[in-house]
């Protein structure tokens, strides 16, 4: 598959954006600038990027608790994301959602989700909606290795395969569900094998190779658009940080993280771009600076924004009913 330079640069930009956003969030959280559960995507950038680059703007995604990367790759705005981490009024969810619930319907982002596995059925439902309306959109569904043991994985893939729905299931196999390694949470090594249960294509790719992800997903997306049904794609990768910020990661074998850091998807792509004259070092540096500025702009925006007025707490439960507040 020939991938255009434009596409490669776009992917590079997304990956760096994710990395820098996450690194900044990490520091801000450590400084106590905001609280809550924050699950970072560092190390896994090639997955979200390769997937979302295969999608159109009018396609949908469902995300997870570890959603920042997916949202950035699908076109989410760093400002509104950062403001949401801060719980500010200007955030994507007006401060009601926080890190685990960022959504942007205008970009087809059906939301991060705090329930492990919730996306499997929601993505399937979105794909049902697409099929019903007869458009050629698709929905990509992100989920972790450990979520493939959840009830919803089976429910969603079964329904999607039975009805040949346009959904692409993306398993981000980072080897762990919190502290439990894959070998201890399931009896298989390649999760793509589970495609057999639904008689759909299942494929395992190197999740740190953005080209491999992009190619596999592009093919699956093409199948889905043509009405040929879902695909299960497993991307093997690794999370560099703890499960959430604050996790002491006692469960990691010594040296494991270091091994994976050597497979960092970003320098790997940089090397390719330099070798193949996709970008010069100078251009890359410039792009990095631009992204640094974007991230700082996001932080400034978030910090300058106001916390939501408490009166807003009783809004948005329904489209038409505003609940009673504390004043009563």
């Amino acid at each position: 598959m020939k991938i255009s330079n434009e596409t490669i640069i776009e992917m590079y930009e997304k990956m760096v954006k994710i990395r820098k956003f996450e690194n900044r969030a990490l520091n801000l959280f450590a400084e106590g600038q905001f609280g809550g559960f924050v699950h970072l995507y560092i190390g896994e950038e090639a997955v979200a990027t390769g997937v979302c680059e295969s999608l159109r703007e009018d396609d949908f995604i469902t995300s997870t608790h570890r959603g920042h990367g997916h949202i950035i790759a699908k076109g989410g705005d760093l400002k509104y994301m950062m403001a949401e981490l801060y719980g500010k009024d200007t955030g994507y969810c007006k401060g009601k959602g926080g890190s685990m619930h960022i959504a942007d319907a205008t970009k087809g982002i059906l939301g991060a989700n705090g329930i492990v596995g919730a996306g499997h059925n929601i993505a399937t439902g979105a794909a049902l909606g697409i099929q019903y309306k007869g458009t050629d959109q698709v929905c990509a569904c992100f989920f972790g290795d450990a979520s493939t043991n959840q009830s919803t994985f089976h429910e969603g893939l079964n329904l999607a395969s039975t009805w040949k729905l346009p959904v692409v299931f993306i398993c981000e196999n980072n080897g762990y569900g919190i502290s439990v390694s894959q070998a201890r949470h399931q009896n298989i090594t390649d999760i793509s094998q589970r495609a057999v249960s639904y008689n759909i294509p299942g494929i395992t790719v190197d999740g740190n190779d953005v080209f491999a992800v992009f190619e596999a997903v592009s093919e699956a997306v093409a199948r889905a658009r043509k009405g040929q049904g879902p695909t299960l794609i497993e991307c093997k990768t690794y999370r560099w940080r703890g499960h959430f910020e604050g996790d002491p990661t006692v469960y990691r074998p010594e040296g494991e993280l270091e091994q994976w850091k050597k497979k960092d998807p970003i320098p790997r792509l940089e090397k390719y771009m330099l070798e193949n004259q996709v970008m010069t070092q100078e251009e890359m540096d410039k792009l990095n600076e631009k992204i640094d500025a974007l991230v700082e702009e996001a932080v400034d925006f978030a910090q300058a924004s106001k916390f939501p007025d408490v009166s807003s707490a009783v809004e948005d439960v329904y489209t038409d009913i505003i609940e009673e507040g504390r004043s009563r």
Binding site: T62, A105, I115, I122, G125, L128, C139, G156, L159, T319
Partner: protein, 323 residues
Amino acid sequence: MRELTYGQGIKEGMRIKMLENPDVFIFGEDVGLFGGCFGVTAGLFEEFGEKRVRDTPISEGAIIGAAVGAAAVGLRPIPELMFVDFATVGMDQLVNQAAKMRYMFGGKLKLPMVVRLPSGGGVAAAAQHSQSLEAWFTHVPGLKVVYPSNAQDAIGLMLSAIDDDNPVIYLENKTLYAVASQVEDEVKPIPLGKANIKREGSDVTIITYGKQVYDSLKAAEMLEKDGIDVEVVDLRSLYPLDTEAIFESVKKTHKVVIVSEEAKRGSYAGEVAAIIADECFYECDAPIKRVCALNTPIPFSGNLEAYVLPNADDVVQAVKSLF
């Protein structure tokens, strides 16, 4: 006027909206050719085809979850579960997704969906097919909950539920499906949150809904002979709740009995009692009574089930205890 069964009423409500709006569609277990476990969707498959009346695999989580996804991308699905008891399997999709998504996302999404859930006992279906779980759903901010007692209300509430931009839990009592009643030729939508005074009276207010409307009306007739003049309020909509109608009635009668088929402990009937005990306390001159099912699972054997479920005699007894 014409006569329709409760089941036909539910169907008519769906059918009207399906004819009107191509985004409305039905799916669930055996809703197609089979016509639904209780026959409610019979004929719709033939009329609208498989695209709009679709059989699903047995996975309640997928049924509700797919409804959430489809609603999120702009459709108006009507998922059906065969029995409300199976909501336990799709509870996450209902409670953590459908009910909360709009709020979590800062109001930037709407989720129009009507979840049909056949409820209640009385058909010897035993503990896992006979529950009344309205108390769970009414406890969940983000859900609306309706429970019609007759064909006309079934239609009117269905029309409003489908038009609503929020997830609506539409509870149906399975012993009522075959019960016929008079229906206007053209039924108008019944706004959610409007109770219906089924019988006016001045001595005591019975607040109820679903099947217990009939038990309560029967009890009212029996009590009339004893000179007790009973008002019967059919809530129809459990959330939003028509507190105005309730308070007005209590202000008139000063005595309340709440009747439902739920296990008494933790019942929705208790919520209604609690609201009155707070906001209408000084209007009450006697204990606020609840007549509900006993605090047991529903047993299979007919005589046990009859004993566990509330009936008109139980209502009569409760009312009399207030005089």
